[in-house]
Every structure is written in structure tokens, then in C-alpha cells.
């Protein structure tokens, strides 16, 4: 059970390992706070749709499961979109069309198809929560690096000294690709080191 939750955080991290949901990952991470909000919205959608899909999994005719999952996911995305617009107007404006686009984030349909449609509710919930949090963490890291180098701030707080020349490229699309590439590389290096240690111990 715990495994279902933990694997999304590191071993099967949606961004760094599975490389899923790249569109929001690259597009909205110009600032750490946008990464956080996108991550929270995605987590909400993946968790609630996984629960519902797991609950109805035995009633769903096999041939139409994908359209049904899509309708369920779209419903939760719309809920998230309206809630953000109603309560966090600024964030919703900044994220623009990327909130409705959570519908096509393959991370969510992937979890529905690969996990929630086959497993029980509790396990599906843990799996979705782990994946959502792993996604959120990755987006925050990406957003923080880009905000730090692109604006000298993290979460809006000045970190680097005044007079630091901002690397505008980091908040442009190119910066997203560069940062993501380096982070995936770094992730693999750390992962290998940890793995090596584990094998030595055992």
C-alpha cells in the first residue's frame, strides 16, 4: 500500500522518470508559485478522478471506458477551473488556458487507465496522491530554478543580490527545456548513486 503512494514521488516520478504532462510542466513554470498552483490543481483532478473511476470500474463497459474516463476527468478539470477563477483570480489569470488543458494531461488518463480502472479505491487514492505530489514537487523545483535565475527571486522573495543580471532566457520557453533537461540528468545521477549504495548494502 505504502509503495503505491511512494513510487510517484521518486521511482516513477511523472515528470522526471515517466516524462508525462510536459505541456504544463514546460509552459507554466516561469515562477515557483505557478508551478505550485498547477501542481495542486492537477493533484486535485488526478485524485478525484481516480477515486470515481475506481468506484465505477466494474460498471464500465470496456469498449467505452476511455470516453467515460475523459468525461469524468473533464468534469473535475472544469470544477478546478471555476474554483480557481472564483477564489484565486490572480493565479487563474496567470495560468490562463493551462488549467482547462489539464484535461489532456496524459498523467491523469494514464493513472486512470493503468491503475484506477484495475485496483481498489484506497490503493487508487494513494497512487493518485503520490503521482500528484510527485508532479507538484517537480513543478516547484523547475519553477524555483527558473524564477531564481530568470528573476532573482523564489516564490516572489528576493534571493540573489541586487544588480544580478537576470537570465531572461530562463523564463522564455527555451529556459524551460534547458532546465528540464538538466534536472532530468541530475535526477538520474542521484538515482544511480542511491541505487549503487543500496546494492552495496544488500
Amino acid at each position: 500500500m505504502i509503495k503505491d503512494f511512494v513510487k510517484g514521488l521518486w521511482k516513477e516520478n511523472p515528470v522526471f522518470v515517466q516524462v508525462l504532462g510536459m505541456c504544463p510542466t514546460l509552459a507554466v513554470t516561469t515562477k515557483a508559485v505557478f508551478g505550485l498552483s498547477m501542481g495542486v490543481a492537477t493533484t486535485f483532478v488526478v485524485v478525484s478522478s481516480s477515486i470515481v473511476i475506481s468506484l465505477i470500474r466494474k460498471l464500465v463497459p470496456k469498449q467505452v471506458r476511455i470516453p467515460m474516463f475523459t468525461v469524468i476527468i473533464a468534469t473535475f478539470v472544469t470544477v478546478a477551473d471555476y474554483m480557481l477563477k472564483a477564489n484565486f483570480f490572480e493565479i487563474s489569470k496567470a495560468l490562463g488556458p493551462y488549467i482547462p488543458l489539464i484535461v489532456v494531461n496524459c498523467l491523469i488518463l494514464g493513472r486512470a487507465e493503468a491503475f484506477a480502472s484495475k485496483k481498489g479505491v484506497v490503493r487508487s487514492f494513494l497512487d493518485a496522491l503520490g503521482m500528484g505530489l510527485g508532479f507538484t514537487a517537480a513543478l516547484i523545483v523547475l519553477g524555483s530554478v527558473r524564477e531564481l535565475l530568470g528573476a532573482g527571486e523564489v516564490f516572489g522573495y528576493r534571493v540573489l543580490w541586487e544588480g544580478f543580471t537576470e537570465w531572461i532566457v530562463m523564463i522564455l520557453p527555451a529556459g524551460a527545456f534547458i532546465t528540464l533537461g538538466l534536472l532530468v540528468g541530475l535526477f538520474n545521477v542521484i538515482d544511480k548513486k542511491v541505487m549503487n549504495k543500496e546494492t552495496k548494502v544488500t
Partner: protein, 183 residues
């Protein structure tokens, strides 16, 4: 138990597919009606609040704002009209830019503008929302077309200096305003 019910209900596979889709569609439709009912007034309130905030920053001292068809009247504490504000929009570098522009009460001079919505590049195009850029528009004559110059100080009274590295976004603002002024 659930299996038995579903088998009894959906013996025919085509029927079962259709009914399953219809049921899911209906449930999510109903759910969204309630979310919509809850959220819409709040969203409208947010948009209104933002428009009012923008008008107050174009006309400092605004106390009441009157909605007059497609324009807003900004009125100060003494009941005097400070100026009029108009909504305007047009294409930017990425997507639509929505602005609110203000004219003084004689309709002779521009009182400035505020960006309501834009998807310009952060750090470059998004600088059109920056105070230094916006202040250039305060007091421009409404009789002439606004022009922009690059990398030097404006020499005529109808010119503004475009943002370095964001000429397209600067030009977009100028074009949107010119189009609105002509109307």
C-alpha cells in the same frame, strides 16, 4: 452484487455502452450546473473589482464609477467627473491583450491605460504593465495617432518609447489604443 445489477441492466452491449455514457454525461452535467451557479457570481465580482481597481489607478481620487453603456465614468468625492474609461482589446505578441484606457473629461487627452489581461512573455512583453511604460501614455493628445520610437527618447508630444526587446508588445498597445481613439 454490482456485477449482477450491471449484467441485468446492460445485457445488450450496444445499449450498455450508450446508457453508460448517457449516465456519466448526465451526472457530470448536473454536477457542473451547481459548480457554475456557485462560481459565476464570484467570478463576475472578481472581474468587476479588477476593472474598478484599474479605473482608480488611471484616475487617482476616483470614488464612484458609473457604468455608462460601453464606457465608465470616473467620479471623485465632490461629484465631479474626472474622466471616462473604455475597454479595448487587440492582438498582442501572444494572444489577446485586454486594456482599459482612460480619457480626460474634455476628451482631449489620454489619461493612461491599464492591462486587464495579456499573455505576453514574462520579463519582456509583460513589461507593458510596468509603471514606467504606462506613465508615458498619460497626457498624450487624443487628436493625433500615437507613434512609438525605438531606443531613443520621444521628441514629439504624440510619441512614446517602445520597450527594448518587446517592440511587438509595445506596438500592440499603441495599435489597440489608436484603434479605440479613432472610434
Amino acid at each position: 452484487m454490482l456485477n449482477k445489477i450491471s449484467n441485468a441492466l446492460f445485457k445488450n452491449s450496444v445499449l450498455s455502452m450508450i446508457s453508460a455514457l448517457v449516465i456519466v454525461g448526465m451526472i457530470s452535467g448536473y454536477a457542473l450546473v451547481y459548480v457554475y451557479k456557485y462560481a459565476t457570481p464570484k467570478i463576475e465580482e472578481n472581474i468587476e473589482k479588477e476593472t474598478k481597481k484599474a479605473i482608480s489607478s488611471i484616475f487617482p481620487g476616483t470614488v464612484t464609477i458609473e457604468d455608462d453603456k460601453d464606457m465608465f465614468k470616473a467620479i471623485d468625492a465632490k461629484g465631479e467627473v474626472l474622466g471616462y474609461a473604455f475597454l479595448a482589446e487587440g492582438n498582442g505578441y501572444q494572444g489577446t491583450i485586454k486594456l482599459i484606457a482612460g480619457a480626460d473629461k474634455e476628451m482631449k487627452k489620454l489619461s493612461g491605460f491599464e492591462v486587464l489581461e495579456s499573455q505576453e512573455t514574462p520579463g519582456l512583453g509583460a513589461e507593458i504593465g510596468n509603471k514606467a511604460f504606462k506613465e508615458q501614455f498619460r497626457g498624450l493628445p487624443l487628436g493625433k495617432n500615437i507613434e512609438y520610437v525605438k531606443n531613443r527618447k520621444p521628441t514629439k508630444d504624440n510619441q512614446i518609447e517602445a520597450i527594448t526587446g518587446a517592440t511587438i508588445s509595445s506596438r500592440a498597445v499603441v495599435n489597440i489604443l489608436n484603434k479605440k481613439i479613432r472610434k
